[in-house]
């Protein structure tokens, strides 16, 4: 690492970025904070309410339930996608003509608009005319994701695994490609088993990219909105109403600005806090 030169003029290079991002980040954030402490009865008349909305949200059972569902969802998809992604990356060819083919096919789901992903799984899972739904029902498994909460959850998780495991695969694959051949040759000479190679060579080398994979999957799954809203609309009942869906229902559906704003801030803070923990762990690992 070369050392950086102190240079205050470098600020000029950053100004456009700061202006553009600040325009998008600070004004809306101020709006949200503003709403979160006020009450309105329409006609643009607002009253200061202090922390009333925050207390209301923190004590509301509805928020607790959405948060619990959100954590369950994020936990499940992390537990499936990370090991699966690593296993696939380990099994992918390292060189030869198949590398490009695999990479292009694996990256495909990442570039499909999120609502199309939802619509696609909708068509696939429809109990009467979808390939998956029809096959399951024909096999004697009663399956209808618009009515059964368990089926809705399974479909939602299958969809997310379909959509995002590729990100973990690509990250892990990149980590693996960065390992010099000499490491493997040394392991071969020592007669190391493939388990030992994984444990002592591949896993440590992938640690950094895997942390990023977990961080990204955590953040993105915590913010997920479009795919479930298209697939299940949060139903049946409230079974798949995750945090973002609930928030949009409150903000744009019922137009309860105060509670929605308070909920937004709490939501954002949870993500920030958890991401900050990851970030600290990451940079600590680098320093060692």
């Amino acid at each position: 690492m070369s050392t950086k030169t102190p240079n205050q003029k470098a600020w000029w290079l950053v100004v456009p970025v700061v202006l553009l991002v600040a325009f998008n980040a600070i004004v809306p954030l101020m709006t949200v904070i503003n709403y979160s402490v006020q009450e309105t009865f329409g006609e643009n008349v607002f009253f200061f309410e202090g922390v009333k909305w925050f207390e209301a949200v923190l004590h509301s059972e509805r928020f607790h339930n959405s948060l619990l569902r959100q954590m369950l969802f994020t936990g499940i998809i992390l537990a499936i996608e990370v090991p699966l992604g690593v296993a696939i990356a380990l099994a992918m060819p390292r060189r030869g003509p198949w590398v490009s083919v695999c990479l292009v096919l694996v990256a495909m789901p990442l570039l499909i608009p999120w609502n199309v992903v939802g619509a696609m799984w909708n068509l696939l899972a429809l109990p009467d005319i979808g390939l998956l739904g029809r096959s399951l029902n024909a096999a004697g498994i009663e399956y209808n994701y618009t009515r059964q909460p368990v089926a809705a959850w399974t479909t939602l998780i299958a969809m997310d695994v379909w959509h995002w495991t590729s990100l973990v695969v690509l990250l892990a694959y990149a980590g693996l490609s960065a390992i010099p051949d000499a490491y493997y040759q040394a392991a071969k000479i020592d007669g190391a088993s493939s388990g030992a190679v994984f444990r002592y060579i591949q896993l440590p080398k992938m640690k950094r990219v895997l942390t990023i994979a977990v961080l990204l999957r955590f953040m993105d799954s915590f913010m997920i909105y479009t795919e479930p809203i298209v697939l299940t609309g949060g139903g049946p009942g409230n079974a798949t109403t995750l945090l973002s869906i609930d928030l949009v229902k409150v903000a744009l559906g019922q137009f309860d600005l105060g509670p929605a704003a308070a909920m937004s801030l709490i939501y954002f803070l949870i993500i920030l806090l958890l991401s900050w923990i990851f970030y600290t762990v990451m940079t600590k690992g680098e320093a060692e």
Partner: protein, 266 residues
Amino acid sequence: MKRFVWLLPALYILFLLMPIYWLLNMSFKNTNEILGSFTLWPRVFTLENYRKIFTDPTWYGGYLNSLGYVLMNTVTSVVVALPAAYAFSRYRFLGDKHLFFWLLTNRMAPPAVFALPFFQLYSAIGLFDTRVAVALAHCLFNIPLAVWILEGFMSGVPKELDETAFVDGYPFWRFFIRIFIPTIAAGVGVAAFFCFMFSWVELLLAKTLTSVDAKPIAATMTRTASTSGYELGLLAAAGALTIIPGAFVIYFVRNYIAKGFALGRV
């Protein structure tokens, strides 16, 4: 056992292709066949759904809108991120670390939080329902991402390059545009790829900020699904067409994807 190791990626890719196959299959069927029978291959092969999309301005207009704001956003994000990433990778300045982290926090902001304030902000400045509004709004998460990726690539370039150029008397901007940017061309490609990707797939903000004139294709699909009832073939065809730009872009950066990820970015 080693001989069968390819089975896992092969099965995974099959799993990835299954919904895409079903989507394509449906897009070539007429409504009667979709609703009336269950066929693994269109019995009556029809291009009617695609024809409808390419002749109806509300449909193909959606594609033009989406591509319009995605390209605008990608170009803006990369252009403003380049000098900023250079500053972060080469210089130490007041508040640099905090600024970098603050930029990244915007990648962590749930779009649902910003939907309503964005609507009000862009209505207030008269940009509501324009492509520019969506392009600007997507800068929120794409600029931090581009800065992050480009900073990674730039830190891999030895500082001696800059020093030699400055000793030779190159003015900063000439060095930056003529020498430095071509050196990290791969990084620019990767950054552009990810900006394109995240702007192309995002819908919540794009939908909130548009109503008629700048409606993205993805939002057009949502409307069709709800208003015209069961036009599933049309929906499938529209969905299939949204896969094409992505597949096209991946093909071009296929050799760089792994490299971009290898830096531990994104």
